[in-house]
């Protein structure tokens, strides 16, 4: 697993950086942290779990992304990080 990123800092998007880690550590900065920080971390965690990733350091900068966007960006970053193409395999 190597450092990889996906997403942008545009409004409505989320920028996700994934790298090696022990256990799952998620650092989140979000423009909607007070109301949705907990849910966003849950979505990131669930998405990684579905991809079979349990050890990673995720740092994410969220600009109000919806769950579908969060899943897509986390998946893309994870694929780039692990080299395992979940869409092809």
């Amino acid at each position: 697993m190597k450092e990889a990123v996906a997403g942008t800092l545009e409004s409505g998007d989320i920028f996700v950086r994934i790298g090696p880690g022990e256990g799952l550590q998620i650092d989140l900065q979000s423009s909607v942290a007070a109301q949705f920080g907990r849910q966003i971390k849950e979505v990131i965690g669930e998405t990684l779990k579905e991809l079979g990733i349990s050890d990673a350091h995720v740092s994410a900068v969220d600009k109000g992304a919806l769950d579908c966007t969060i899943r897509a960006r986390v998946t893309a970053a994870a694929v780039r990080s692990s080299g395992k193409d979940v869409w092809k395999d």
């Binding site: 409505g12 423009s31 909607v32 007070a34 109301q35 949705f36 109000g64 919806l66 769950d67």
Partner: protein, 473 residues
Amino acid sequence: MRNSKVLSLEEAIRRSGLKDGMTISFHHHFRGGDKVVNLVVDCLARMGFKDLKLAASSLSDVHSPLIGHIKNGVITGISTSGLRGELADAISHGLMDSPVVFRSHGGRGSAIANGELKIDVAFLGASASDELGNACGVPRSENAKSICGSLGYALPDARYASHVIVLTDDLVPYPNLPAGIRGADVESVVVVDSVGDSSKISAGAIRDSKNPRDILLAKQAAKVVINSGLFVDGFSIQTGTGGASLAVVKYIREEMIARGIKASFALGGITAHMVKLHEEGLIGRLIDVQSFDKVAAQSIASDPSHVEVSAVEYASGQHTGSATHALDIVILSALEVDTDFNVNVLVGSDGVIRGAIGGHQDTAEDSALSIIVCPLLRGRIPCVVPKVTTLITPGKSVDVVVTEYGIAVNPNRPEIAERLKAAGLKLVDIKELADKARSVIGTPDPLPFGDKVVGVVMNRDGSVLDKIYNIRD
């Protein structure tokens, strides 16, 4: 000239009789380009004043230096229509010991006129003034440095404040007439380098949108107007500052031309869009309390049927002759609308103050038809919610809510619902809109509000509508 009132700022302040604890006032016609508030409050701080109450018609990003003056005790009270930027953020986090008092533009006009908001010294920026204080917001000489158009929000201050100081960046020969601020009301005139940066009067809240969602919203809102039953020759209209509510004008224009309908007047904050319709003969008069851009400011300077009105004449709920009482249709934006049609335009969904009441309360209540235009979601932030974060405009004043997921009509306006349905528009229950938003974003966690009151929202009749609590990080 004989009897000239021109003084230095310090001397004008000394002669005003201003004392610690008194109330000073300002207008916000230069919006983000305002230079008067910071200049004057810096001067008052240097002169050693403390415990002053600042009564502004509104405050914006440019006024963040007030944070320092609040911390050092120069300013201990604020009343305003709105707050934005760092100052709003600091106040939301509990900067001040006494809460900010928020009033609508009409509510502020009423409060000044009836003595509830007593102004000791008004500091009023003007683009031109003569030596006796006849002052206006439009250029009157080749040396003019600024233009802001209507001085509507400054006119109650000029009339009712105990002492009035005009600040101008262009002193012109007497008589500078006609002038909204009359020399008879003015005690001193101060010449400064700049009262404001006119290029910034259309900054901030006002955007000309190319966003496809805003365009969709605008088209839907235009259909509501056109089919409301009020779209008849001689109707009157006002639009707010959101991208979509401004764009509505464009689509209404096309239909006015197609049907041969003309409006009698447009009211409120006047924009280039409204000026264009007026110049095309589609709108008879422009009644202007605030020129929202340079085109509007230039129009009021040269066009006798584009008239300046004070905040009292514009939207006072306590003066039956105010213009809102003659208004047919108003199109407004919102940060949040709830399932009781209550609207919030002041406090963001993160609990931080980020807006202004403006004329929202006034026009929604007095108009024959008030239309709120807002998207269902802004990013992950819902605009249609079960309950607004802060109550600004009560639901009984709000008639129609237009979103990209459907149009909701207040149940107390069944005749409007019938007309829109007959025109084939898709109406939805506002609760369905709130549910739709929730289904996409989930249920938000409650905001971390503290127990310190940082803001009090006044209704336009002078009663308290809601309180704003401090937000914790």
